[in-house]
Every structure is written in structure tokens, then in C-alpha cells.
Amino acid sequence: MIDNFDFQIILASLPILMDGMGITLLLTVIAIVGGIVFGTLLALMRLSRFRVLSFISGRYVDAFRATPLILVIFWFYFAVPIVIGRPIGGLYSVLIAFTLFEAAYYSEIIRAGIQSVTRSQIYAGLALGLTQGQTMRHIILPQAFRNMVPVLLTQAIVLFQDTSLVYVVGLKDFLTAADLVAVRDNRVVEMYVTTAVVYFLICIAGSIFVKKLQRQYSI
């Protein structure tokens, strides 16, 4: 089998693989950034004194965590266009679906992170005359995110791998592109080994980067 391993096919299919990686990375980055921003908002709502906000956020998280990601993707691809009366396209629908889905998970991580900072730190901020908002922004959230880094990374890696689900709406992410080539040229071993190695390297690189970051900002 190894004798037949055709490195040429990997080089030949590089353009199509790169395009696929482009989609994968775009989705990952947008869903991480959007998910963390929206997830922070959801976490703050969840911890709010105002019961209505806390309730809305809680039910949002429940709903998305009880739904398989692939169903959420279907929803935005097939159902939402019917509701708003026009198609929104494969890329936009998965970007929205991933961001909303990830926000539910990030919000729980961020909520736990905020609660990991002691209450006395809030007191210390307030005692200096900072408002609740300023205390949250300058004192609590920076510490919370530091505590959350390992879990956020895990979630990011899961997300990075989950992006392959977009094949269901006809988008070609990295894995789907590799799969296409594998079937088209009957080069299954080469393409699947290549994808595995690339996924592995990117995830390892991400872990190393975060560890370095953590050491730099350790407290």
C-alpha cells in the first residue's frame, strides 16, 4: 500500500484543498469571534438581576444545546428562507447557524468563568467607585477569560472539526474537498491521510500557541 502512495495527487489537488481550507478557517474564525461576543452577552444576561433577561438567555441556551448542530444548519438553510421569503445562500446560512449555535456553548463557558472570579473582586472594584459595568469590563471579564482559556481552546478545536458538517448544504470545506478528490481519482488513502495530518497539525499548533499565550499572560 505504501509503495502505491501517490504524493503527486496531493500536489495536484492542492488548489482545491486550499479553497476548502479557506472555507473551514473562515467559518471557524467567524463562529469563534461571533460566538464569544454573543456568548458573553448571553452570559451577562444569564447572570443579570433582571429575571426576564436571565430567563431568555437560559431558554436560548437550552434550546440550542438540545438541538444537533446539523439540524440548526438545515434550519437556516431550508426553513429561514421560507420564513423571510428569499434564499440566504449556503455560506451565510452556515455562518449564522454556527455563530448562534456556538454562542450557546460559549455562554456557558463564559458564565462559569465569570463565576470563577471571587465576589470580593467585585466588591473591590465597586468600593473604588467603579460602576457595575466598569467593574465587569475592567476587573472581572479579563480575569474570567484568563481562567477560561483552556476550555475555550477545546471548544474552538471541536468547532474547527465540526465545520465539515457544511457539506450538507453543498459547501466545500477542507474535508469535503479532500473527499471529492479521493472519490473522483480513487485516491482514498492519500487524501484521508493528508486530511488527518493537516487537522492534527493545525490543532497541535493551536494548542501550542494558546499555551504560549497563557504563559505570557499568566497571573
Partner: protein
């Protein structure tokens, strides 16, 4: 300057403060002592509105703390507070810790805030630690930074919540020295502490609390001479004779 009238507070069913009344004049140093769980820390946190209370009134410099319309952040910015566990912000340097509220609350520019910070660090003897993070300092040093951070707001009064209880014995004095100096300069202070040496040296009055109530509120001379209540006598004998 600080007036408490019939302050009562409940945690659910449990009454933590019962009818507490006292007052602190400008320049006075009042030490609050009592067994653990007697409500000392809760009482002092009510003074700057960190803990809400259900009955009674507290006024600071004529402003009612419990009023819904009171601008609490503004009021708190005028009252310094020092905590048992220092509560420096671990993700900031020492100097940033002292500067942040000056910038965000008082609207000073960063350079002015840092200059003031360095002045105060010199005062508490920690100039060379300005760029370090709190975790790199000893407990005594952290608590002195916390005092400098509170002083940077130019407060009209200072609240101390067991400022030396979390410190190793050899570090207690470096913190007490700073507090004694402040007291002698005429700072208005409410200090929850068991350091009776500090009370003897600079306190004008000593308040003894037990089970959420103020049992004794006397001048230093009366308190250490002949405490009127049995409970205060018992407490004093326990902490002084060993």
C-alpha cells in the same frame, strides 16, 4: 461624618445586624471588634453600600447611603476601603491597580494617575515594586499597595475590614505602621480588627459587637479600663491574655 441610626439587616430569615447606631466624627479613629460572626464586617460594608440593609439609615458626609437616588459609585469613590484579602487586581501591575479608578472614576489622565500612584507607593515604601504584579509581592506588601490604591482616590474616610487577619505575623506591623501614620495625620477611620495594640495606640473609640448588635461603644480609656458588659470583658480576656 459617618452616622448610623438603628441599622438592621437580614439574610433571608437570619438577622445579621440588630439596631446598630453609632457615629464617627471627622478625624476620629473607631475600632470595631468582637467574635467572628458578630457582624463587624457586614456593618462596615453597609457604610459604603456594598451590603444593602433593610432598616435604619446610614449617612456619610450628609449623603444617605440607603436612598435609591444616591449615586453610590460617586459616594464610594470618596470612601476608601481595605479588605482582609487585599483584593488587588491580579491581572494588573501594582501601578495599574492604583491608577485605574483614578482614570475611570475621577477622570484623571493616565500620567497624572501614575504620578500620584508613585507618590503613594513611595509613602508606603514600595516604589521599586510599581511594575510588578500582585502575585510577586508578599501579603504585607500587597496590603500596603491596597492602602495606597484607596488613598489615591483622596478619600474623606477609610474603612478597614480586618486588614491584618490574613497576614503572617511578621508582616502585620508593616501594615499597622502605615495605618497608625494615617490615623495620626487625622484620617477618619473605621477599622475592624483584633489588633488591640493598634486600638490602644490610635483609637478614639472602641466598639464591641456580638451577635449582630453593638454591645459596647466607649472611649478607648473606658473600654480597656472597665468594659461594662460581661461579654466584652470575656472577649478582652480571651484575646489579651495569652
Amino acid at each position: 461624618m459617618i452616622e448610623l441610626q438603628n441599622v438592621s439587616k437580614w439574610y433571608g430569615e437570619f438577622k445579621v445586624l440588630t439596631d446598630c447606631s453609632t457615629s464617627v466624627d471627622k478625624g476620629d479613629v473607631v475600632v470595631i471588634c468582637g467574635p467572628s460572626g458578630s457582624g463587624k464586617s457586614t456593618l462596615i460594608k453597609c457604610v459604603n453600600g456594598l451590603e444593602p440593609f433593610q432598616e435604619g439609615t446610614i449617612t456619610v458626609d450628609g449623603i444617605s447611603v440607603g436612598d435609591k437616588g444616591t449615586d453610590l459609585p460617586k459616594l464610594r469613590s470618596r470612601i476608601g476601603m481595605v479588605f482582609q484579602n487585599f483584593e488587588l487586581f491580579p491581572h494588573m501591575t501594582v501601578l495599574q491597580n492604583i491608577a485605574i479608578a483614578q482614570v475611570k472614576v475621577l477622570g484623571r489622565d493616565q500620567a497624572a494617575a501614575e504620578e500620584r500612584g508613585l507618590q503613594l507607593l513611595e509613602r508606603v515604601g514600595l516604589t521599586e515594586h510599581a511594575q510588578k504584579h500582585p502575585a510577586q509581592l508578599s501579603g504585607g506588601q500587597q496590603q500596603r499597595v491596597a492602602i495606597a490604591r484607596a488613598l489615591a482616590m483622596d478619600p474623606i474616610a477609610m474603612l478597614f475590614d480586618e486588614p491584618t487577619s490574613a497576614l503572617d505575623p511578621e508582616m502585620i506591623n508593616e501594615v499597622l505602621d502605615v495605618m497608625v501614620e494615617l490615623a495620626q495625620e487625622g484620617m477618619t477611620m473605621m477599622v475592624v480588627t483584633h489588633e488591640m495594640g493598634f486600638a490602644r495606640k490610635v483609637a478614639d473609640r472602641v466598639i464591641f459587637m456580638d451577635e449582630g448588635a453593638i454591645v459596647e461603644d466607649a472611649t478607648k480609656e473606658d473600654f480597656f479600663g472597665t468594659p461594662r458588659s460581661d461579654r466584652a470583658q470575656l472577649f478582652l480576656s480571651k484575646i489579651l491574655h495569652h
